[in-house]
């Protein structure tokens, strides 16, 4: 018998054993400072009790939550722009938590690597880059887990006519060097994003002009009405106007609750608390972001206490971590999902019956149960539930007979041979999922060859439409259906060979309407067309599974999978 010392069932050491990398002195200091923090936080709870924060979580006093409490009706309505006048409270009303003393340190393992701290260029919709930089720089507007927009650097906004947006900036927000955050800084950041022509630039394609009537006011004029402007502005991080100077992003500054101490692309990103933050100091004194590629090393670091927080672990690692008394797992819906495209410009996928047959061939529930436990579930639309514009559809039932019948009707009674491109590390269990799906398709006579490609080549083939089938994950990064449906299914995008003028019309209208209820209706119709015409199969939507030490509190899992640690505190 082979010794099974790596089996985690036996002999787990008490979690108190200190990780070797942390000197004891630091630990002592941490203990001392966190004691201090608990003391002051209790005081703070008393101070801001009227702001309706739950008393049990004193450290949670989140500026935005306080703002919500203070601003009754307008922001709470599901359709934000339905009551556009002044959607947010005046800055003065925002209750600031009284001086909280930041304490302690956490180390966060990123699921993939950051290659830059520049949130405006090639990585401008990359969730990991956003996760790291959102602590340093800030957006005008944030989006809550329930889909509402809440003020951040913009204290309020209005939409006086369909093509004009006016944002009033907070007067008290300052960059880490003490300079005020002005309209000119916003303008420069937006111009940088547009000029970089990175993946965020298309979101701002409708912008015609950016005006700065005074240093606290931004006026954005769009060519056509834009219903997605607020959603897009939840991705635009604002840096000082001088950010375009060379080398700025090696150690950027912003107006956020944390300052960059040091950064190297393949080592740690270290941050420290910005005690002058306009929303009051953050809960943590220090924060480190790190990337470790190997799963075994990541899980080990979490178990030994070398790191405190990670997410996007493979599902097979979760049961053992769940049993660990020191760790906690938060599961939450996300904007990410898996899809399979079938190239509708190539036979036999030109026939919707063939495409539907492939959908009926998959036992989605069984696959999800066996392979994605805790990280994914059956999807019910071409976009995940938590996205604005989602509308549930009738699931494709698992029926090999129906699938074969559809194939026969399409003139393919004996099935056919085809291939599917995919790029490893695109999502949890991708390799296992590909093998499982291939097996199901083989059962109806469709022999799919797996083409596992390097990212560079996969992207090349994908863009050139040089593929039969494609399997990948995708994230509706802005949380708005426009980001995905308009980008991927409009004929002009021609991303998967599927073209439908009726769908184009719906998507165009939905993108340019500022009436959110109307938009929701239009996307519901678009959902239905895409689901039933099946240019793609949408088997699973992904859950965010955040694993962290129980000594952390105040974490709220976001659907965007870009966790924020602004209100996290650590107790020892």
């Amino acid at each position: 018998m082979v010794t099974r010392w790596w089996d985690d069932s036996s002999d787990r050491r008490p979690a108190t054993s200190a990780p070797p990398s942390r000197p004891d002195r630091r630990k002592f200091l941490k203990l001392a400072s966190s004691l201090l923090a608990v003391g002051s936080a209790t005081g703070l709870a008393a101070a801001c009790a009227p702001a309706a924060t739950p008393a049990s979580k004193p450290a949670d006093a989140k500026p935005t939550e306080a703002a919500k409490a203070a601003a009754p009706a307008p922001t709470a309505a599901p359709a934000v722009q339905a009551a556009p006048a002044t959607a947010a409270p005046k800055p003065a009303e925002v209750a600031k938590p009284a001086a909280r003393v930041p304490s302690g340190e956490i180390k966060v393992l990123l699921p993939t690597k950051t290659t830059t701290l520049d949130p405006h260029g090639a990585q401008s919709v990359d969730t990991i880059t956003f996760t790291a930089t959102r602590h340093v720089m800030e957006t005008l507007v944030n989006r809550e887990a329930d889909g509402r927009f809440v003020p951040n650097l913009a204290a309020s906004w209005e939409n006086p006519d369909p093509t004009t947006w006016i944002f009033k900036l907070r007067p008290d927000a300052r960059f880490h060097d003490g300079a005020k955050v002005t309209a000119a800084d916003f303008k420069a950041s937006l111009e940088r994003v547009i000029a970089a022509k990175g993946p965020q630039a298309p979101l701002w394609a409708a912008v015609d002009g950016i005006e700065t009537p005074d240093e606290g006011t931004v006026r954005i004029v769009t060519k056509t009405p834009s219903g997605t402007l607020l959603a897009s502005s939840t991705l635009l991080l604002i840096a000082p106007a001088r950010a375009s100077t060379e080398g700025f992003f090696a150690k950027p500054i912003g107006s956020g609750p944390f300052k960059v101490v040091s950064y190297r692309e393949d080592a740690d990103l270290r941050l420290e608390a910005n005690t002058d933050y306009w929303g009051g100091p953050p809960g943590l004194q220090n924060m480190t972001f790190r990337y470790v590629p190997e799963v075994a090393a990541r899980v080990t670091a979490l178990e030994t206490g070398e790191v405190d927080f990670t997410w996007q672990l493979p599902p097979d690692q979760l049961p053992a971590l769940r049993r660990n008394p020191d760790l906690k797992i938060d599961e939450a819906p996300s904007y990410s999902y898996y899809f399979i495209w079938m190239n509708a410009s190539r036979p036999p996928f030109t026939d919707a019956k063939v495409r539907r047959a492939l959908a009926h061939a998959l036992d989605v529930d069984t696959i999800a149960k066996d392979l994605l436990a805790g990280v994914g579930k059956r999807a019910t639309a071409p976009i995940p539930e938590s996205v604005f514009g989602y509308a549930p559809q009738t699931p494709y039932e698992y029926s090999p007979d129906k699938a074969k019948q559809l194939l026969a009707e399409a003139g393919q009674p004996n099935g056919f041979e085809t291939s599917m491109i995919w790029n490893p590390n695109s999502g949890p269990q991708d390799r296992e999922l590909v093998q499982a799906m291939l097996s199901y398709w083989a059962a109806i006579g469709v022999r799919v060859r797996s083409q596992e490609l390097e990212r560079a080549q996969w992207l090349d083939n994908l863009i050139k439409l040089d593929w039969d089938m494609d399997f990948q994950t995708n994230s509706v990064t802005t949380g708005d259906a426009d980001f995905t449906l308009n980008r991927l299914y409009h004929s002009r995008a021609n991303r998967n060979g599927y073209k439908n003028p009726e769908l184009d019309k719906l998507l165009d209208e939905a993108g340019s309407s500022t009436d959110q209820q109307r938009r929701a209706d239009l996307y519901a119709q678009a959902n239905k067309i895409i689901w039933e015409e099946a240019p793609g199969i949408f088997p699973f939507e992904l859950l965010g599974s955040y694993v962290y030490r129980k000594s952390l509190s105040g974490f709220v899992p976001p659907p965007s999978q870009t966790p924020s640690f602004n209100n996290v505190t650590v107790q020892r």
Binding site: R4, D316, E454, Q457
Partner: protein, 314 residues
């Protein structure tokens, strides 16, 4: 040229390209049939047994236990070795991350890994020996060019070269063999060149040339035989190193395709399960190590047998 870059190793880390083997100086075995000679022979044959067994497994195994690369049973995944599956069969080595029997996979892996190892050594050997003989025999500009090319390649970590070539060629078993062959011909070329230079100056070759023997005849009759022995010794050692190198490529996602899994690929794809389902990665890993060790021991014995200078010392 300087004395530089003459290395007597037989490689090492997967990344290593060795320059020249100690067997470079090896001469064909003397035909003396002494007691010692017979013992050498016996030791050689004995050491070939484990290797032969593995080759047998690779040849026959997949026929007895066919590996189905398509059908998976996700309900049967991650079963530990020896456990029964729902259809009553026993998974002697356990099941993998999608519920396939690991034993069938390891047997298929033996085929692919040995195929990659042996073909690479054969192709790299042919390329290298051809280059080495041409360089050594004709000398001059051609010699300079080929040997400088070898130097360039030596200055370049072979794993990086493999990554570059693999990226150009794309994934397939044939391409893996081509990639690895292109990174490992240098050793053979240097040995073949050295042997050719020595052989060329031997009295009988000089005599044959004086008598008007053709180049082809000289190469075939006199020079080639002197290269066979050192080639055989390096080749056995290299088989193991190539199998390991293929595993490294698999780790980087540039190995054999999933429907033709090498041991390296199974080990690499199972590595995220080492703390939850250790057998997926460990079973093929064990087989891989055993083969590399068997090949290594066989190589040692072969060298002893072929090289009288070392006779009796190992």
């Amino acid at each position: 040229m300087s004395t530089g870059l003459r290395s007597p190793s037989h490689g090492g880390a997967p990344a290593a390209v060795s320059a020249q083997s100690p067997a470079a100086a090896a001469l064909p075995a003397s035909s003396a049939r002494s007691e010692r000679g017979r013992r050498q022979q016996l030791r050689l044959v004995l050491s070939a047994i484990p290797l032969g067994l593995f080759i047998l497994f690779a040849a026959v195994g997949p026929l007895l236990m066919p590996y189905d690369p398509v059908t998976v049973r996700t309900g049967e995944r991650l079963k530990p070795p020896g456990e029964q599956t729902r259809d009553g069969a026993r998974a002697w080595l356990g099941t993998d991350q999608v519920g396939r029997d690991l034993l069938a996979q390891v047997l298929q892996g033996a085929r692919i890994s040995l195929l990659v190892g042996i073909s690479t050594v054969a192709i790299a050997g042919l390329l290298g020996i051809a280059a080495g003989i041409i360089a050594g025999y004709y000398g001059g500009l051609l010699d300079g060019f080929l040997m400088r090319l070898a130097d360039v390649q030596l200055g370049f970590p072979s794993i990086l070269l493999a990554i570059l070539i693999a990226a150009v060629l794309g994934p397939s078993v044939t391409n893996v063999i081509i990639t690895l062959s292109l990174t490992r011909w240098v050793t053979y070329a240097r040995v073949a060149r050295a042997s050719t230079l020595v052989a060329k100056e031997r009295d009988f070759v000089t005599a044959a040339r004086a008598l008007g023997a053709r180049d082809g005849r000289l190469l075939g009759r006199h020079i080639l035989p002197s290269i066979i022995a050192p080639w055989a010794v390096i080749a056995t050692v290299e088989v193991g190193l190539v199998i390991i190198a293929e595993a490294s490529l698999s780790f980087l996602g540039l190995g054999t395709p999933p429907d033709q899994p090498s041991w390296g690929l199974i080990v690499a794809n199972g590595r995220a399960y080492l703390n939850t389902a250790w057998w997926i990665s460990t079973m093929p890993g064990l087989a891989l190590s055993l083969v590399v060790i068997s090949v290594g021991i066989f190589g040692d014995r072969l060298r002893d047998y072929l090289d009288p200078r070392f006779a009796g010392t190992v």
